[in-house]
Symmetry: C2
């Protein structure tokens, strides 16, 4: 048996399987643990008589309710047969796949116990697991978790990535004004807060106070609060009088009018949840400034630097810069290392911003560069397992994660776990802990116990302990390093690397009939594809063609799933996000006229501001490697070619019909 | 068999049971539906070969991973044995209980399919269920769901009550400024928007615009947007220039400085998530104004009216008034009907506010007054099943729910479903739909299809379809009316009514040794208890005694759950929330000196600003009615008396020891 085979055999029991091949294993585990739960109940107070007599179970009334229950579950089961078949290698659409069996079983089993991770009185066991899982994520990202060093990382789970992003930005918003508030309180009460460079807070102006690095401000705050526990409550109240959390943004900026409302910088490719976040937090969608992306659909660090220079000159505050690690549309990875460099160079000019990384999609990629002992694997070492991955840019971005302030990641995406579970990890736990209403235990000896009352610290309240158990168990089985979870994530990259190869053969097959282009070369495990019939020069017409093609690949309601051969997804590539030269390059490759791919559409039958393209998430572990030598990527390309040919046979009728 | 017995037999199969008596039913249902899932997978593409060969399942590498999986699950199972035993009638602490078996099975089964209710491409089946469940909640609350009338209600699920509250307040914040924005756009572009009373928006000042009723504003907006779909995008952009969602709160209030930042009114008993909401939304914790509560711990409508009068006089805007239906600490119910009256009387004076009801706890109580045909049961009719419930105040509050704008309710609380699932229901669906980034389908013919892309409308993104299935199935088995879910909820009220009776006998038993008082008479199914040793007159000392008592009732980590006889919880009754006369009454009943129960503590060994009291959530269906004639409330009181006596024997030593 070769090493590749062994690797495959190792991963094989981790999923129920496309044919539910591991049904025995799933059923065995569930049977054991459902029984275990049953007998746990029976061992709680065996001295009590069972409240429900067996004779009751044979009464008509009982049986009628049982019948109603079965009826409702049959209706559910019948409907569920139309569920999107994420589990199968024929599903190459959204960020979903079969889920990890250990996590699935853990989630199901723990649901029987039904812990609520809001506080230790409702869930001590699974809260410990949630915090352990948070520590493991922190280690994977390269954060310090040793409580004797400063800062110490801390992370917790959320109901999803959107909530994680909102919470992180909320905490950052709070912390950014803490230096200013301390200075004001210091001024009012003759208190001296001294920065590491010897300056006193009260000597700084509002702009300087806003631009103090978070680690410094949080340290000063912690020192001050630790001095005398008796006065902690008062101090918190003094600070509140100068903080937007208490005053509200309107009153705060009216009082501290020398500070302009801050911008949040995101890449132009950022997920729509960032607009939600800016609105919900009252910062305003207008303040969400899109940093242009380069031809790789990565944030353009040069453009970021220029925006920062301007912000510096105009004294426009930057609340935070958000980098995206794995964009939803293209899977591309922002240059986190360069964002960190811009951060550092700005600091010398008096402009500071913290960095949040939205790694909802790509966070788990960091497991590939992490060795089992916690070290960082050299790029040359990592590369051995791949054709091209990781590019120097991607590798540097992953390594630089350890410098950022907070990271969102979604175990229900590349963590291969059931919906819905996200997570947010803070490099400096104080960034999260300042929110607590009952701050006392933050400073108490038993910090772990204090942090466990999660509802006090985080955006959410009641939350699923079962999700925490799923994350914890999956991390036990597949630790967050290259020899664990990294192996699984690596497969998805192998899939993409093979996919790219197959594009070339499709190109050749369709020569003279259609142009086939990968518009954005993938940074990891998500790949897009654009197809334009030869002879068509209109962007709008190309979109018509792609729409017709997508209909043959889309999951649609109200039809048997068996009708679906392959299920893909789509996205749009916007002209506004491309440079002129990049738009030219893409149009030439597709045979589309540059005049029809525009930011302002005059004739919508010909022109378009975006190109509709196929988008493939290649998470399935069985796409190219399995026991039956069936390559699903080959099958997909065969199917795609067949559909393209069928459409081309009707073309331009199909396009025209749609516009008629 | 009598009716009572039949009622009991009907409910018996709905839970796994304290002794897991219904293990056969649970195992049978799970086996069937897990098999069904397995064979669904096998029927998707039977033409494909199974990617995992059975020979792989016998390789060493496979078995090693299987072993690791089992090891991790054993660790989980071992740890879970210390889980809080919510399922048992000996658990009378927080808002948790055994869960509905149909919902539990639905959740587990659907987790295997793993739908993601963010959009129809990820979960068409369970999104339909979520929206159906939302409609059922709307009907239970008395909202209109007929699409031919205006307004039409709409609701969806959330990851919990906190997120539901934040989302509702976010939507209200947006909608409140819509009239103003339309007037400004109208002024700039010579557009006339006419109100039902004939006035034109452009003739109103900013205060008047802010105080337009939401239904009117949303209607005008909808009419305008529906006029010409081609211009919808432009109109949305025009409006954005005058809305805080786009500008941010700081810039908005700077521009429209005649409007002061608005207050949010909540009862003094409101859950701490409201502080979170005010902070997160950038409104500021200071703007969260606590309306005093009366002696029943219900919002004092007179006080509300006075605050509103003052707001009217000062032209201080009120963003929303939040009523609580079932406070977390006392289960008390704000007078929703009187809040509606205040709303109406304020409107005649030009002050408008929408009403949100935080019914996270008590929302399901509405099922008790709802008849199967959707009608409202008369109070006399409802009363027949109870000793005292519902009081006229509680009944009127429940009936008045149909008039409020939005309601939060938590299926994971009185819905008896697994964590975590909340919900938010809007009386006027436009209140929710204005948030959409892609508003077009709000106006399209197939509204249902459009609404289904939930991620566009709501705060969250990816979310569990399994939770939606759990809610849907449980509603099928137990519809949201008196003959369905109402029966189960009624049991929890019976429990409390019996509990109150037992307090009297405890009082008698402890006469001369300790005072036993129910400090807040319960409105529904949550009851508190205060105990003070005879001879002690100090509030601080009473709290010491209660702390010692609570230690014997609390769930604590790191001990076998079998050590726990009964598990209770506690809360604090704050002096600041009581009137002088009420504080006097309570102190007299307890034998505590009024001078030691104060808002400002001078000597903390004697005085306290709050009283620590026991808090009991009596959700378990087997507390007093079961097949073994064991009354767990009796057993609880026996245990409580025993513990009190044991502590009294040491008293005042136990108190002194703690203060030493």
């Amino acid at each position: 048996m070769n090493r590749k085979q062994q690797n495959w055999h190792e991963l094989a029991p981790l999923f129920l399987g496309a044919y539910a091949e591991n049904n025995d294993l799933l059923e065995k585990l569930l049977r054991e643990h459902i029984n275990e739960h049953v007998f746990w109940r029976r061992n709680f107070h065996p001295d009590d008589q069972p409240p429900i007599a067996t004779t009751t179970q044979y009464t008509e009334a009982y049986l009628q309710t049982e019948a109603r229950t079965r009826q409702a579950l049959h209706e559910l089961a019948a409907r569920l047969k139309r569920t999107v078949p994420f589990f199968h290698p024929r599903y190459v659409g959204h960020m979903a796949s079969d889920v990890l069996l250990p996590g699935l079983v853990a989630k199901i089993v723990t649901t029987l116990y039904n812990p609520n991770n809001v506080c230790t009185e409702s869930a001590s066991v699974t809260i410990d697991m949630e915090l352990e899982a948070g520590q493991n994520f922190a280690r994977m990202l390269g954060f310090n978790v040793d409580p004797d060093s400063y800062p110490v990382a801390w992370g917790h789970l959320t109901s999803g990535g959107t909530v994680a992003n909102i919470e992180a930005l909320w905490n950052i918003r709070h912390a950014r004004f803490l230096g200013l508030a301390m200075a004001k309180v210091g001024g009012q009460r003759d208190l001296v807060f001294t920065l590491p460079d010897g300056r006193s807070l009260t000597d700084l102006n509002d702009w300087e106070l806003f631009n103090l690095p978070l680690d410094q401000v949080l340290w000063l705050w912690h020192q001050w609060m630790s001095e005398d526990p008796e006065t902690r409550h008062d101090k918190t109240e003094w600070l509140a009088e100068h903080l937007p959390e208490h005053l509200g943004l309107a009153a705060f900026f009216q009082r501290y009018w020398t500070i302009k409302p801050p911008m949040i910088l995101v890449p132009a490719t950022a997920h729509y949840s960032w607009r939600k976040a800016a609105k919900i937090l009252g910062l305003g969608a207008k303040q969400l400034v899109e940093v242009p992306v380069d031809r790789h659909m990565r944030m353009d660090a040069g453009a970021l630097s220029r925006i920062c220079q301007q912000a510096c000159a105009m004294q426009t505050p930057i609340l935070a810069v958000v980098g995206v690690l794995g964009t939803t549309e293209f899977g591309t990875i922002d240059p986190i290392d360069q964002i960190v460099e811009v951060q550092q160079s700005c600091q010398t000019q008096g402009l500071y911003f913290p960095i949040h990384v939205d790694a909802a999609w790509g966070g788990y990629l960091a497991s590939i560069i992490r060795s089992a002992d916690g070290g960082t694997k050299a790029r040359e070492h990592v590369r051995q397992a791949f054709k091209n991955f990781p590019s120097p840019e991607v590798y540097d971005a992953l390594v630089a994660l350890k410098h950022v302030d907070s990271v969102t990641l979604d175990p229900h995406k590349l963590g291969y776990l059931p919906y819905a579970v996200g997570g947010v990890i803070y490099r400096n736990r104080l960034l999260s802990l300042i929110q607590s209403q009952k701050a006392d235990y933050v400073f108490s000896g038993d910090a772990a116990e204090g942090f466990a009352n999660l509802g006090q610290f985080i955006l959410e309240g009641s939350k699923s302990g079962a999700s925490a158990a799923a994350v914890w168990v999956s991390q036990k089985v597949m630790p967050l390093h290259a020899e664990g979870m990294g192996k699984l994530v690596a497969r998805s990259i192998h899939n993409v690397e093979y996919f790219i190869e197959r594009v070339d053969s499709l190109k050749k097959s369709l020569e003279q009939r259609a142009a086939v282009v990968v518009p954005v070369m993938p940074d990891s495990n998500l790949v897009t594809l654009a197809i334009n019939p030869t002879g068509n020069h209109s962007a709008a017409q190309m979109n018509q063609f792609m729409t017709a093609l997508l209909e043959r690949l889309a999951y649609t309601r109200n039809q048997p799933v068996q009708n679906l051969q392959f299920i893909g997804s789509s996205t749009r590539l916007y002209r506004k996000n491309l440079s002129n030269s990049e738009a030219t390059r893409l149009c030439m490759a597709l045979g589309v006229s540059r005049e029809t791919f525009v930011t302002e559409v005059k004739d919508k039958h010909v022109m378009s501001e975006s190109l509709l393209i196929l988008r493939h998430t290649l998470m399935s572990p069985w796409l190219i490697e399995n026991d039956v030598q069936v390559n699903y990527i080959d099958l997909y390309f065969d199917y795609l070619e067949q559909q393209i040919n069928a459409l081309l046979a009707e073309w331009p009728r199909c396009g025209n019909a749609a516009t008629a």
